[in-house]
Symmetry: C2
């Protein structure tokens, strides 16, 4: 398992995307998000997606030099057409617009349609925290393919529909971050289990007959993911799809085209009272939790987002460990595009 | 188990609160919310709380004739002081203000501090849907008493911190509604299990030593609730407290006084595009889910909020079934306050 320095990942990724037709801005934008996902420890949304992005560019579905555009705007809201380019670019524009609106009014929200995969949802909640805003983000596809059953159902009818909340932490410390799928688990973890030949825990998946199973092969043979926490995760999944795909007007994207949708809302603490008071509340709550005695089997109580922060600190310093198959696939794509880079010399 | 007609519950509740010193408006406002919780099937937030409200009024903590006030306002936001009267009144004002702001700007948010128990959180998300707005609501106390452990912790350090999302349904049908606590289960269900002498499922509670248990007595002997879905419910609990108690400046309420806090945000679909397009998306998603084949053990796939709708339809027609102990306690309070009413003749 190679460990690749962050700078090398970034410059290599940018070079690959440029060689595939991306503008320098687009190449830098998507690579920053992919490497950022690896830094946060969310490898399933990181550079392992480079080869599939390149494949989509080759097939014409993903437009590497396109630019997302704003199709609708009010003082408080905006709608972005992702332009079928890298989804992270439409997502970044959406998150930035939500924050800009909130700077003026205290609240702001924006939504996007027609994006390729928008990447790590937590990134679009973190974006608003850089301006000091509490931020919510939700992502869903308009047309599927679906992977998750509704609670009480037996067939795939929902995406993994992830959402995130981020709350700015005083003095520039990393934000409090909630970031997860509304399925029991992200699809990437099923791939990992399959490659490792391991059973998955009960409550993750059902087989094609709707029966609970721990054999991950049953998922790939026509089974489905369960929502997390039964009816609770199911309800949130429905809300996420209605917010992201519904508000953005995602249905205007024809089936077969990139149809990822995003919703981002920012709330400025200063619109409710002195920003310092809010910062003090966040500190007080965070400290109360961090001081809790751990349960058996735990070293300490972590705040939401601390795992991402620890991963980021470690990988910024030590580099990003990549599975052999991931690194091989990236090197293969680089060679095909005649990209030379010291890391693959 | 008596079944009481909705009109009787309403007029009796109002009479009791008026006899205890509530203004007619306050009595009507709190009773509407309590009976509304029973109608929705959330009995733990319904009229069973009448006796404890009256007790709090007697002890001076709950001010039955006070009025919530607006302490801070911007074009997009507002902050409400609950005034230590019935929490549902401050909550209703907060939800109404959030919707009023959204009428003007497309987005609106309001928050409240200094409330007594704010009741069924779903009601404050449903309020905004009456204006056609997607609405989020979250409630938390500032000072505890806490009942839930953080993920990886062993001592009570969080409330049950519930939240809700409601999405307006086309043509006046009841909204899509998510409404649940971030603890594994509401405290009321533990009371029910205790009274029934039943064990609770694994994953609900731990004992005072931090060990998993199914003996509900262990909770009342110094144990604690677990968050729902492990780190996922824990993260949402932290977000809820920071939104509700943090943004409202809940820390200004001295310990020992009513300290419930609320956060409500409204999003107008028409701020993002034609409202009809959004309504069509909601219908399309809802129909896709309702048409799903059910899993074994289920009759059909329900939409979030359908259980509440079914309960409402049944109880509006048949009346509200109340546990003997609940009805006895209400009649006792009525007699003590010299309230006469046909239902308790």
């Amino acid at each position: 398992m190679p460990t690749v320095r962050v700078d090398d990942l970034r410059t290599l990724g940018e070079a690959i995307f440029r060689a595939a037709g991306a503008t320098p801005e687009n190449a830098a934008g998507v690579t920053a998000s992919l490497v950022g996902a690896n830094l946060a420890g969310h490898d399933s949304h990181g550079v392992l997606r480079i080869p599939s992005c390149i494949e989509e560019i080759k097939q014409g579905g993903l437009k590497p030099a396109a630019t997302p555009t704003v199709t609708h705007e009010t003082p408080a809201t905006a709608v972005v057409d992702g332009g079928a380019t890298f989804g992270q670019l439409g997502a970044r524009l959406t998150a930035t617009l939500a924050a800009e609106k909130a700077k003026a009014l205290g609240l702001g929200a924006a939504t996007a349609f027609g994006c390729a995969h928008t990447g790590r949802i937590g990134e679009w909640a973190e974006t608003g925290t850089q301006e000091g805003f509490i931020t919510f983000a939700a992502a869903a596809g308009e047309h599927g393919p679906f992977q998750t059953v509704p609670f009480g159902g037996r067939e795939r009818a929902l995406g993994t529909n992830p959402f995130a909340w981020a709350i700015p932490h005083a003095s520039g410390a990393p934000p409090i971050l909630l970031d997860y799928a509304t399925s029991a688990v992200a699809r990437g973890k099923l791939l990992v289990a399959r490659d490792a030949g391991k059973a998955v825990p009960e409550g993750w998946i059902i087989d094609r007959d709707g029966q609970p199973t721990t054999d991950v092969g049953d998922f790939f043979a026509g089974g489905a993911l369960l929502p997390f926490a039964g009816h609770k995760g199911y309800a949130m999944s429905v809300i996420v799809e209605m917010l992201a795909a519904g508000l953005s007007g995602g249905q205007r994207t024809p089936p077969g085209e990139h149809d990822s949708c995003l919703f981002v809302a920012c709330f400025a603490p200063s619109a409710f009272g002195p920003a310092d008071d809010f910062a003090a509340s966040v500190e007080r709550i965070a400290n109360r939790l961090a001081e809790q005695p751990p349960a058996v089997g735990f070293e300490m109580v972590l705040l939401p987002g601390e795992p991402e922060t620890h991963s980021r600190r470690e990988r910024e310093h030590d580099g990003v460990p990549l599975a052999d198959a991931t690194w091989d696939a990236i090197m293969r794509v680089a060679r095909e595009l005649d990209v030379t880079h010291p890391a693959i010399a």
